[in-house]
Amino acid sequence: MTVAEGRAASVPAGGAGLAGSAGTAGEPAREGGFVVNLERYSGPLDLLLALIRREEIDIWDIPIARIADQFLQVIHVLGLDEAAEYLEMAARLLRIKAQMLLPRRGDEEPWEDPRHELVRRLLEYQQIREITDWLAAAARRRAEHYTRGWIPVPPDLPLPPPELDLTELVEAVERVLAMMPDPVMFRVMPRPLNVEGATRRVMDLLAERESFGWRELLGARPTIVDILSSLVALLELARGGTLTLAQRKAFTPFDVSRGPTYQAA
């Protein structure tokens, strides 16, 4: 099987659009974040139609198992088996194939052909292809009519104000946001807490003394990270009963004492 032959034999005139040559028939799709060479097919439906035409299959009775196998083979050969759109179609074909294999339940309910939706889409797409061919031919005819090449520059009239409306502007904002790799609404700065180090300091102090004021944990100029690390360490140790926290008087720093499960390291 040669894919190139299949394509050449199955796509009617105009498939290459205004370009008139197969080399420019498609454009690399960059939508998914990777570049796929889609020179031969403008999408999975196009490929599917090409297969159906090549095999001279009745579109209303597609041998889905055979077509699914060929589809997988072709996207593999063309290196399209990483393109989401082709994979989605492959998955759809395999699902239909599976549904076709299910035993039909007598005549309890009317059987709905699982291929139906696919056929509808193929016919719809085929119609678009015909219109595309028509437009390409019309554009080729039109291109044989040159319009005037030299247009006199209008006398120094002030340019009229451009058309602009608010909807367009907001749409532009939305396009910009969509374009930004990661529109940031709020920025959170990760600052690693050193809970382990703080825990070690607490345990060292508890080994020395039965009780101490919690501020002794902090150095002379504690950063917010030091304070938070120490608090988290104290709360963790208090939860396990290694120490107890008590505030002797309102508005005073709390004290740290050995708890019921305290064991010297």
């Binding site: 050449a8 034999a9 199955s10 009617p12 005139a13 498939g15 290459a16 659009g17 205004l18 370009a19 008139g20 420019t24 028939a25 498609g26 454009e27 799709a29 960059r30 939508e31 998914g32 889609l38 403008s42 999408g43 999975p44 439906l45 196009d46 139609l49 159906i52 035409r53 001279e56 579109i59 759109e85 016919l123 719809e124 797409y125 085929q126 119609q127 678009i128 292809r129 015909e130 219109i131 595309t132 028509w134 437009l135 390409a136 019309a138 554009a139 005819r141 039109r142 291109a143 044989e144 009519h145 040159y146 319009t147 005037r148 090449g149 247009i151 006199p152 909807t167 367009e168 749409e171």
Partner: protein, 184 residues
């Protein structure tokens, strides 16, 4: 000698100077005394003159207006001489999107992608930048998606007077065509 009317001469000058097809109602500004019928007569006279006298140009109706263009028989020679720049050609994908928008407008991106089976954000952007598509409003649906429509420039690109001159879908062969032999 087959002299043409003064109004026809003015019409010719205006069509020469305009960078795009001129609609009948735009011609009115040229001469306050002339009615639309007068302009129709002048257009007819100019077209007939070009045909009868053997000119290199012709008068055509496109994109809702009238425009003078060169005759197709001279296209090859002009192309060869490379006097005139051609606009960049459109890809098959771009033409497919134009075809969908032309027939379904106003239409949203999701519907276009549904029909084509591939995403087309980049193509839509390019067509908008080239002035072939434009935003026609927003759908009432979820997220109020943008709807697209074709522009007069699209009609110029394919040389059609009006959108209604596109082939009707029932004129197209909807059923699959049999395999065709490769193009020569």
């Amino acid at each position: 000698m087959c002299p043409v009317d003064q109004r026809t001469r003015l019409l010719e000058a205006a069509l020469f100077a305009a960078p795009r097809p001129l609609a009948l109602d735009e011609l009115a500004v040229l001469d306050a005394d002339a009615t639309e019928d007068d302009w129709r007569r002048a257009l007819g006279e100019l077209r007939d003159h070009y045909e009868a006298e053997g000119h290199g140009v012709e008068l055509g109706e496109v994109a809702g207006g009238w425009q003078i263009t060169t005759l197709p028989i001279f296209a090859e020679a002009i192309e060869r001489a490379a006097f005139a720049a051609r606009p960049a050609k459109l890809s098959a994908a771009a033409l497919e999107v134009l075809a969908i928008v032309a027939y379904r407008q106003p239409v949203g991106r999701a519907e276009i992608e549904d029909i084509r089976g591939v995403s087309c954000g980049g193509v839509l952007r390019m067509l908008q930048e080239r002035g072939l598509l434009d935003v026609a409003g927003r759908s009432e649906g979820l997220g109020r998606p943008i709807l697209y429509a074709t522009t007069p420039l699209f009609l110029e690109l394919v040389g059609l007077p009006e959108l209604s001159d596109l082939p009707r879908t029932d004129e197209l062969a909807v059923a699959l065509r049999p395999p065709q032999s490769p193009e020569p």
